[in-house]
Amino acid sequence: MEAYLVLKVVWWLLLGVLLIGLAVMVGMDMGVGTILRYVGRTDAERRVALNIIGPHWDGNQVWFVLGGGAIFAAWPLVYATAFSGFYVVMLLLLWSMIVRPLGFEYRSKLASARWRNAWDWALFVSGFVPMLVFGAAIGNILRGVPFQFSWNMTSTYAGSFLALFNPFAILCGLLSVAMAVYMGAAILMNGAEEPIQSRARSLGVWAGVAALVLFTLGGIWVSSADAYQLLRAPDPALPQTPLQQTVERVAGAWLGNFRSHSLLWLVPASAYVGSALGAWALFKRRSLLGWWLGALAWIGIIGTVGAAMFPFMLPSSTVPSHSLTVWNASSSQRTLAWMLGFTLVFMPLVVWYTSWAFWVMRGKVTVQRVEADEHAY
């Protein structure tokens, strides 16, 4: 049964890959939506900004869909408990996100300035709100979520909608928005000419600095806040439900993994290196380097949350012993193995053809080119 243990850990690492893919690729497009009205002052400039990510936003969005599907399949209890628990917030996320494809596709279909202005606002909302919610959700998960299970694993949620917007969660939400703006600014600098480039640059540099500050503040909070610790649990290699463990709430326990494995400090360090050097790179107009450093910062941020919480996935603040962990929330060995097989075959293919798509569409997008192409956004 040791193989099962390995599979659980491998899938937990893959969850990290998925969340980082989602944050980097979807976050970048949402960042563009968030700053669209600022970097583009005229209709033509906004169209340039939209057409820079135009060929890619749909493919990027699949990271979000795949994230949902993979969590469903690999951690059914996490999918069921988190998404029903965060109900109203999930609705906000979905409602703002489903406007986005229409914003891209329909905005430039009519020449009316009012029509286009309305869609520009829609694109702002569908960029800003999901990133805020994404970060705030992670913040709430770090604090613990008020749910519990009955004997047959029916989950009930005891929290209110407004409690999800506590100061720490908002801080995490703003960190995620700052990173999105940073990545969006980097891709716009890379694909646009003046004056879009300079506007994106000033926003990008500040967003990088803001991310650094917010990440530090979050770290200070986490180091002393109430956290969760596994006291007693069945053998991690065995199939189990969350009803058979004992969990205790301890202040500062999220630092436990770092204390016992000091190499883990490299993870938050890479968030610092990424955002600090990234802000400098954008300042120096090295947009591509800045984009990759931003991706490194995302790896550091999401990796830090993972490293702090392991093996917890969704701690319960109502009944801590019902907390979901990598050991008790993973799918069966056979499911994890089959999905790993598919991932090993198809993930490299996805990376390969996505890179090819970016390579085909490389180069600057200009006002002339957008206006000459009747299929452009």
Binding site: D43, N51, D58, Y87, I98, P101, N152, S332, F346, V360
Partner: protein
């Protein structure tokens, strides 16, 4: 605590959002292949008219595609938000095809659609054609995985219930993948999409021919679509029959509802062509029958019988009695996973677990040990889905399928051997027929999913137990939000679609209409 209103609202929301999503999916499935076909002709012959066709239908394709993508997001997360018990119960099995769909199909479709739109000037002709084929392949593979997941709900193969984790777990991935229901359902549904696209292209082309506009493009598009349509409609009917054959054996309750069968009769059984089923009286108030036809259609033989509601309700009651000890044992196992006696009791009654859960709805405090024969009868009566909607949506779907087949056969004859543009009445029919494939698709969904009731996973997990523990207020809030947004969306979509059709393709001797619009925006 189970609240019936929450269950009803959850079902209503799922039905509304799924039916809505399914307004956009069939056209994507079919039109992507039609685009690939037109572009192939362009690449092979080099004739510019086929490039114009590809780009014009491509424009309409994208207006539709955007809403398909947007409403698909809702579906991916709705299991978790509204059906959380269902999700944790079957995520191990049902979730797997959904995850693979994202990885293998949706990534392909979405990445290549960007290149299809933006890559005309940057790719060689052959490269662009390959890109278009990948869009078609991706969207159809997407349908394949979604329907494998759906087939699992209809006929859960390759899975077992694990009492140690309190959920269904994968026993054989290949059994789930090659479930007969999944195979026939995939082909039936994706071909239904081809029929939809064919009717759409025929209808719009007929509109142009009636107006004498874009004749070159309209005639060619009509011909390609008519050929595509005749093969697709024939295919959809054949596979529909296969699906009925498979489904009839796997889900006798759905079949009984589809055919309005209240009593089991001796072979050969008569087919109710038209009937007015009454659920209260458990009989048909009136029926038009063809002798022996039911046995022939369903069992493909004259001496096959098909069980009616009477026999099925009786069987359900027996299985409920068998399922009660399974639920009781499970409860003991939850408290103590090492309880060997409880495990033995569970294993003895495992196959009826779903029926034990079905009756728990009527059990005092949901404690099945307190169930009496009145509750068992009530739950057994539930085992039959609502007959009236299943019976009639099935007939509307089949009727429309046959009508469209007749139309496409004539269309092929007229377009190949005659001048179809002179048959104005025939062309007008095509314009009015545009909504028909959509109605047929939606009816098909209703037959499949209402017919599966009272289960979300057939004979394993009852619908009433599958929902999240939300308040009625939450469910009303989310439902009204979706209704509001989706109404606005469909109005915008229809407006843009009609507008794009009215504008028509940009022909070489006319400058693109949007040039003037761009100029006016610049001036502003």
């Amino acid at each position: 605590m189970v609240n019936d209103t929450v269950v009803d609202l959850s079902r209503l929301q799922f039905a509304a959002t799924a039916l809505y999503h399914f307004l956009f999916v069939p056209l994507t499935l079919g039109l992507s292949f039609l685009l690939a076909a037109m572009e192939t002709v362009y690449v092979v012959t080099g004739r510019d008219i086929y490039r114009q066709m590809t780009r014009f239908w491509g424009k309409l394709f994208l207006i539709n595609f955007a809403l398909g993508v947007a409403t698909g997001l809702t579906m991916e997360f709705q299991f978790g938000t509204n059906w959380s018990y269902y999700s944790s119960f079957v995520g191990d099995t049902f979730g797997t095809p959904l995850a693979i769909e994202g990885l293998m199909a949706f990534f392909m479709e979405s990445t290549f659609v960007g290149l299809m739109v933006f890559g005309w000037e940057r790719l060689s002709k052959a490269q662009h054609l390959i890109v278009t084929y990948f869009v078609a392949l991706g969207s159809n593979l997407s349908a394949l995985w979604i329907l494998i997941a759906n087939a699992f709900m209809q006929d859960p193969r390759g899975a077992y219930f694990n009492p140690l984790t309190m959920r269904m777990e994968l026993e054989s991935f290949l059994a789930m993948l090659f479930s007969p229901d999944a195979q026939s359902k995939f082909v039936h549904t994706s071909i239904a999409g081809y029929v939809t696209a064919a009717m759409f292209v025929c209808g719009v082309s007929a509109f142009y021919m009636l107006r004498g506009r874009h004749m070159e493009l309209a005639r060619r598009s009509f011909r390609i679509a008519a050929l595509f349509g005749v093969f697709s409609t024939a295919g959809v009917i054949t596979l529909g029959d296969a699906l009925g054959f498979v489904g009839g054996h796997e889900q006798p309750t759905k079949l009984a509802a589809m055919e309005g069968l209240w009593r089991t009769e001796k072979a050969p059984m008569a087919l109710n062509v038209i009937a007015f089923p009454s659920h209260e009286q458990r009989r048909n108030l009136w029926a038009l029958q063809i002798p022996a036809a039911l046995s022939l259609l369903v069992t493909h033989s004259l001496d096959g019988t098909v069980p009616g509601a009477d026999v099925l309700t009786q069987r359900a009651a027996e299985r409920i009695r068998g399922g009660i000890p399974a639920v009781e044992a499970l409860k003991r196992l939850s408290a103590n996973p090492g309880d060997a006696q409880a495990l033995a009791q569970f294993q003895a009654h495992e196959k009826d677990l779903g029926y034990g859960l079905l009756v728990a709805r009527y059990a005092p405090d949901q404690d099945v040990s307190k169930v009496g024969s009145a509750e068992i009868d009530k739950a057994a009566a539930d085992a039959l889905p609502p007959v009236w909607p299943v019976f009639w949506s099935f007939r509307i779907m089949v009727g429309l399928g046959l009508l469209m087949l007749a139309y496409f056969v004539l269309a092929v004859i007229y377009t190949l051997f005659d001048r179809v543009e002179r048959r104005r009445t025939f062309l007008r029919l095509a314009v009015f027929a545009i909504p028909l494939p959509w109605i047929a698709c939606e009816m098909g969904w209703l037959v499949a999913e209402i017919g599966r009731q009272p289960w979300t996973v057939y004979e394993v997990l009852p619908t009433w137990l599958s929902v999240s523990t939300h308040s009625v207020a939450y469910m009303a809030f989310s439902l009204s939000g979706f209704l509001l947004l989706y109404t606005v969306f469909i109005l915008i979509e229809l407006y843009l679609m009609v507008r794009a059709v009215r504008q028509g393709p940009d022909e070489p001797d006319h400058p693109p209409r949007h040039a003037a619009a761009v100029a006016s925006l610049r001036a502003a």
